[in-house]
Amino acid sequence: MASEHPRANLQPLTLHIPEPKFRPGDAVDFAEVDVPPAGEARRPDTADKASDFIDLAYTLVRVLDDDGNAVGPWDPKLSPDVMRRMLRSMALLRAFDERMFRAQRQGKTSFYMKALGEEAVAVAAAYALDYEDMCFPSYRQQGLLIARGWSLVDMMNQIYSNTADRLGGKQLPIMYSVKEAGFFSISGNLTTQYPQAVGWAMASAAKGDTRIAATWCGEGSTAEGDFHSACTFAAVYRAPVIFNVVNNQWAISSFSGFAGAEATTFAARAVGYGIAGLRVDGNDALAVYAATEWAAERARTNQGPTLIEHFTYRAEGHSTSDDPGQYRSEGEPNAWPLGDPIKRLKDHLIAIGEWDEERHAAQDKELAEQVKAAQKEAEKNGILGHGLHQPLESLFDGVFEELPWHLKEQRQQMLDEETASGRPWDRKA
């Protein structure tokens, strides 16, 4: 039998509940964020063993320094032309986000999500991958489609759930699916795409194909079980896949500490699985490009998976449904020590004499016009705010390849309802 006070001499245990550094009203000082100098991180050979460069999971691969120079072994030495195209894609993404965000606020659609401040993550990766590679994105990588030159009108049609929406109004806005552009259908359920990307990559390898897969999730989403299943499979079968973790510091209102950031980095998740891990300045388009190119080469040469943590910052709210002022200091986006990814690439191009402020301003104007024109075009096909654009019976398309009896019955029931109702679901303009 235990004594009456068996543990009387022991200290009581305590529970640690993480707390972000700054809350609404606090002054922000990011001095504690460790930002190593650009150019400092070593660049292993892509044939090296993952266990030989564990240090790279704990530092920050950076190329662009504070003066706009590209320095160190990770400099991908891109031609000015490619860099200008990357810059343009990032600026186009920002203009697109801005316009669609406003469209939601105007009641033209139900929902939108911006990628403000993390444009380099998706755009630079898209430039470093082959067009044929398959991307398994989360909801904040619309930059992949934009960098791949996909039609803005087509994206907007989806956002408006209109007659030209390739997804027939079935998906929440921004949950694109564009197989032609190597863009896998987005799920609203977090991180389910991770093991799927591994499966696609394994299939490609099993068939002796040369295409690889890449996938993205937020740092908050790394807590999901699917993330860990994916890592295990990828490590075991040396799948040709790139895991991208977009550490933008916040998961809705929860700071990265609730995904484990106080104890280690997200790139270091790779270490336990024996996967190559890189931690990258996610606001440095050249670093993102270089890391992706390096990981792609590893995958293509059968060295297996790489996990890249993109250290960045979500400068806007989580979505149109959220007000970041409720949980974080207003000062954070501007105090973020890694700067603005667009400005950093622009400054570099200017520093090497391949760009100037006037051209940049003119480009911004031109892109705003391009987006505006696309919006006009898309709105010709209707906007969600103006009621239904899909034929009612299409509600049943795609549940199965062929309609079984019970769905045929239900479809008929719905059409009878329409007749009975005089179309009560026709929403007013």
Binding site: L15, I17, P18, E19, R23, S110, F111, S161, D165, G169, K170, Q171, L172, P173, M175, S187, G188, N189, L190, G220, S221, A223, E224, G225, D226, A251, I252, S253, S254, F258, A259, G260, S321, D322, Q326, Y327, L384, L388, H389, Q390, L392, S394, L395, F396, V399, H406, L407, Q410, Q413, M414, D416, E417, E418, A420, S421, P424, W425, R427, K428
Partner: protein, 335 residues
Amino acid sequence: MNMIQAINSAMDIMMERDPDVIVMGEDVGYFGGVFRATAGLQAKHGKTRVFDTPITECGIIGVAVGMGAYGLRPVPEIQFADYIYPALDQLVSEAARLRYRSAGEFTSPITVRSPFGGGIFGGQTHSQSPEGLFTHMSGIKTVIPSTPYDAKGLLIAAIEDNDPTLFFEPKRIYNGPFDGYWDRPSQNWSKHPAGEVPTGYYKIELGKAKIVRAGEALTILAYGTMVHVCAAVVAEAGIDAEIVDLRTLVPLDIETIEASVKKTGRCMIVHEATRTSGFGAELSAIVQERCFYHLEAPIERVTGFDTPYPHSLEWAYFPGPVRIGEALKKIMKDA
């Protein structure tokens, strides 16, 4: 109070009364939840009793089961019911069976709160009604309130209950009752009797249905948002229907159902979830097993369709006034 405030009040009171009650979930802490259901609770009860969790539903429920085994009473939130699937194994194989398999040595006194149902343009992954999955699994209770008053009383009862309970909150009626016409101005609980919620402690026994409207012509079995849509349709059609709000699906108030159907001789079942293998199928079977010789018409089932929830076509999917009205006509045809 609206339903969110009533739910908040229930948790607040239970945390005051019982130091073992803790609240956890994605964004529930400082921020107070994406629907604000836990607003203010962390500031009042402290960070070790109200805290954010990592984004892993299977982790949230698994951890809650462990805390429950220690002796706490966790009230985990799953941000949207659509995200309960990653937690299915912990709920179904673990929480629901712990008492049974350990001969009562360990129990899972957890109350899992989750907003469910459609009508907010949430698309496929913010609109589903998964209650039927759980009523199919033994060992877990399922509660679905339809008013702020009930929400508070039922949530308090669920938190006090020693078994694992799922508490599904019909998010379409968080702010006010809904008559099924989305293009009419939204109603507000402040102008509704069920919006009057006592600030103190009270509870509503689990397993007891409520007769929302007494009547003789037929019995309508419904829960959550659909209670209000049915009431509006019935009022408009001028039919003397008896509307039974089930309030808890497991355990089910079979006496109230049986007495009502035997009295009216007709039964209509309404839910928003998909039809096939939905809870309506169970209700229908029970009614025909127990009331067959009293029935004057076939049982009618009005449900969502057997498709995922479609974003832009959601009002065609939703079992609204037209679908319910047509079913009413059918069941009353030879009355």
